[in-house]
Symmetry: C2
């Protein structure tokens, strides 16, 4: 049995691209006692995967050249010598970026196959759902009548954050990277106002929509967008920060906003969150998200890419803002 996998081929100078990776074919050996073979169905590409590709001084978490990329995947057990995972079981793992592999059963989670799409497990019922839900429901807790601004609102996390905030009775302002996305946010997601950050002045948009100052900002973007949002928050406003995608292709993705001092002057509260630190609370997060999805209360949009050979380009495209919703890569049919 053969499998293709994606390896880290060269450290990106500036932006990542398909050339950052190579697709390699490997042979899958027979499973030993206790092992099983998983054929992946869907894998995820996510912005955070960019971070260990940068050679940060002193970080031991850097991906090494030649290593296989890691990420969330959902697969099916196709051969098993492990009674916990029978053939046909659907499992979620951190062994994405490969078509098939031998697993010892460690770090596998068996999941309910009866969902509308198994791809949900690498998105709304995975890291993305955890991030968006924790940010809105645990961290920011927007109240009815408050105005919240969500950047990258047509992205994976943003689309969910917008809807959860609407559900809590907020007025939702959104930005995205194309006029089509702006239309979609207004008509499909139901935000109250939206702007294309490539053509509009975000700060002017926020000031026009909320002259008294934003109550809340949900940050997916960092950089200039975070700068504009901090300037637009009212006294005692709050910001939740879960990523800085605009900075990930730069030399120092860890840098902060230009005007940190506004946090002091306006008494702002800035709170970080990520799926990694809220994963422990997934039992409070995923069941309500699934119920909202199944009732149709929550819409979930994916951009599908087919075939592992297209995963590198799909990953690189995350940073040019060309996709709608969550980008998932289909590796095989069930």
């Amino acid at each position: 049995m053969k499998s293709r996998e994606v390896r880290f081929a060269r450290r990106p100078e500036g932006g990542v691209g398909a050339h950052t990776f190579e697709v390699v074919e490997t042979a899958i050996r027979e499973p030993q006692e206790g092992e099983l073979i998983i054929r992946n169905l869907w894998m995820s590409v996510d912005p955070y995967m960019r971070l260990p590709l940068t050679d940060m001084a002193g970080s031991s978490a850097n991906r090494k050249i030649g290593e296989t990329m890691l990420g969330d995947a959902v697969g099916v057990v196709v051969q098993s010598r492990n009674p916990s995972f029978p053939e046909g079981a659907i499992v979620v793992s951190r062994k994405g970026w490969r078509e098939a592999y031998v697993s010892s059963g460690e770090d596998l989670e068996q999941v309910d196959p009866n969902v509308r799409s198994l791809s949900w497990y690498v998105g709304i019922l995975g890291l993305i759902g955890i991030t968006a839900f924790a940010g809105v429901e645990f961290v920011l807790q927007p109240q009815a009548g408050e105005t919240i601004y969500v950047s990258a609102a047509a992205g994976a996390v943003g689309q969910v954050a917008c809807q959860l905030a609407k559900r809590r009775g907020c007025r939702v302002l959104a930005t995205a990277g194309s006029d089509e996305k702006v239309d979609w946010l207004m008509s499909e997601i139901g935000v109250d106002a939206a702007a294309n950050y490539r053509t509009a002045d975000v700060e002017a948009f926020l000031r026009q929509q909320c002259p008294q100052g934003l109550d809340i900002y949900f940050d997916n973007v960092g950089g200039r967008t975070l700068d504009a949002a901090l300037r637009s928050l009212r006294v005692f406003g709050r910001a939740g920060v879960c990523g800085a995608i605009s900075q990930y292709n730069s030399d120092n993705y860890r840098r902060g906003p230009e005007d940190f001092f506004s946090i002091i002057e306006k008494g702002l509260t800035v709170t970080g969150f990520s799926s990694r630190i809220y994963r422990a609370r997934s039992g409070e997060i995923l069941p309500p998200l699934r119920a909202m999805l199944e009732s149709g209360e929550l819409k979930w949009t994916e951009t599908e890419v087919n075939g592992i050979e297209n995963a590198p380009a799909a990953f690189a495209s995350l940073f040019d803002g060309s996709n709608l919703g969550k980008v998932v890569v289909r590796l095989s049919e069930l």
Copy 2:
């Protein structure tokens, strides 16, 4: 009647010094109907007064060359044609940096003369008390058993923050700029551990004292101290930021920490606060502080400077960390 006042003479290149200001003698005119003459007893010098001396592009709040400096002062009414403020009344104003002046009665607050020292009104019963109390009691709310780190702990705000945190049952770690201050923090203020940041490695001190990571950081300093504290906070740790004195003499005092991204990774909460935005709650703050002072539960230490001619040097000295507690300038005796 003559009065001396301090004017802003030249924009500081780098650090402020006595040469930044000039002391000018003026004549005090007779009060008209509704006016009164105030002779100031104490004036305050505070780090925030440094900010409008920097020529920040686009800021309309900059102090102009030749303008008289402003700041909190407590004075006595020596002549009055305003029935609300009889002669002998003690009043707090924002007209510091001058010995006497004619007031219309606007923006004056008449205060109780029966306190141990009237200088308290430009410190612990003024902006300093509001800042420290709001930071500990409203923003950070440290819980018994938590470990909190207070920087500039032997300064005006720091000494109060340390004691309020101890009172809530916290373990308090402190840094200050001399071995004498460290001894004083341990013996007089009762912190649990203290280090001299000029000779010790602050991050190593924090790691040694709290290997599992700080729960809370109370920031008075910004710059490298904030960097070290953010690195030392545990997951879900929180920081209160009320000033960045280490940055005020630099070109960009508004800059943030080196590693803003740690806020995301560790799920930190950073909240700003200042006396300006919590002044509206002074009714909840000043009575308990006064009760703690009078019962001896709260210690309050001042460094006294005599005479308005020494106010510029006293102000400049705030940035070299040479003073213990709050710096106050005595302008006259009651």
